[in-house]
Amino acid sequence: MIRIEQLAKSFVAPRRWIGRAAAPVPAVRDVRLEAVDGRITGLLGPNGAGKTTTLRMLAGLIRPDAGRLEVDGIDVAARPREALARMGVLSDARGLYPRLTARENIVYYSALQGMAREEAQARAEALAQMLDCTALLDRRTEGFSQGERMKVALARALVHDPANIVLDEPTNGLDVLATRALRETLQWLASPAGGSKCIVFSTHIMQEVERLCDSVVVVSHGRTVAQGTVPQLRASAGARDFEEAFVRLAYADETGAAA
């Protein structure tokens, strides 16, 4: 269960030697989100809407200016490490160590999560089976394809079997088959058989959201502008097509001004 309330963050431009400091750039003004267990929640928004910044704050990498982030009732700002232990985060930076094998990459993270060695090895095997990449395990990650990298990075993020899974644009750079495989994996993880995980994932691709998400949060210019299931959003925007609904919701100001 992940809850985000009235989140705000603006970035201060680095100070220059001469002249006045530039005005702070607001990245997130008022983002609200509630993601429950056993469901996939999509964070949908155009480029620059503040999705990545929101998820970075959720992972405790940036301190928010205002608002509250909660993971299973734990305040991220107050107890970041406990919150992180209950979250698996696949951020948009998903670099692997090229000189280590896929297995070593995964086991390193499980050790950092405080898992015992045998447990970590077993978990790496199980994750590889789930993500269908057992053959990759003992190869060095140097020269892996985008899809292979993503699988290893996802396995690394899920190594401690977290109850909450946060993914930042996970389908970036993946081909059709890899995207489909990821979709199936996420659906399974949200199902009771997969552990009824709470999954939040950000994207700017309509089709992903339509196919996968149980509920959608639309973010634009750093604000949550709509929240609900796909049919609900279509109905509230008065559009039959989801893409049309998204454009009306996300770009309400601009399209309104133009009309």
Partner: protein, 389 residues
Amino acid sequence: MKGWPAWTVFVKEWVDALRDRRTLAVVLLSSVLMGPLVLIALSGLVASFESRAERREVVLDGIEHAPTLVNYLQRQGFAVKPAPEGFEQKLRRSELGDPVLVVPKDFESALRRAEVPVLVLVSDSANKRSEAGSGRLQRLVAGFNRERSTLALALRGVSGEVLEPVRLGEKDLANPQTRGTQITGMLPFFVLMAVLYGALNAALDTTAGERERGSLEPLLMNPASPLSLVLGKWAAVSAVALLIAVLSCFSFIPAQWLLRSDTLAALFQFGWREALWFVAIIAPFAAALSALLMAVAIRCRSVKEAQASSAVLILAVSLLPLVGLLNPGGEERWHLWVPALAQNTLMTRVLKGEALGLEPVAITLAVCAVLALLGVGFVARVLRRAAVR
């Protein structure tokens, strides 16, 4: 928190660094092998000087014009050889290793009439081997002059001491080990370079490299504390630097067996004891330097940027030991407070066979500890502020 995250990070970074075979090979070639190779090359040079000095040969152009001089030289135990054809060209091209003394045609008659004939000493100051021999030739000619004048004065009933009212005696205080340091003085420099280049790659790879690969952000999303991450990384970088330093120190021991000059081999006293002392002196420095390099690199977005930023540090570590070599005043107290220079000073003491003393060791340890603390603290602070801008 179960387990020790710092230990986990250490093991991973150590394995990672040792798998970077190409970089390690370059470091081993450039820093570890370089010292012994230069030493062996130098010993070859010294050996050639020595053999020239021992050969007791003098090259004269126009032997037939100067029987008196040849007689003197032979009495001094020198073999006199005629100069080869076109000796000036040969000297210039370094084909001839001995300077040539040119005797004018009327040397003997001019000498008899006390007309002061001129002998010309032909050498090439760019030709180091001939330079070494010309000092000896000058002394021989001076000796010949002294003998001639003493004889001339004696014939007139004057004591030879008129010509030499003062005599100069020589007393060399250097013991064999201190004399050896003239040549072995560069050893500490090579060891310092080995530590520097051993630490450099690992330090940049674990900081700026993580950021460049995009693996820093996921790493920070683990529940391990930033401080434990930094401690693990720092320990691994220091260990790699120390490994290279140990290899470098111990590579001088087998290098001695290959020394071609007997004098140099006798002067060069570098055994297991000295090597262990070297390692003990260099270990705290390796730790401090690793922390500093990491602190410089942690804010850089790529390894390339980090290399540019660390250039100042690299230059400082390379140049500071030279202060010890160039300073004519010898060792001064403040040298011990400057890292790199202090290690150079202490290692030189080991080579000279002097005692290190408790205070200098304490000073260098304290300086290294403070630097390491500052470096590690800074890196941890940057990571705690989470590094995403």
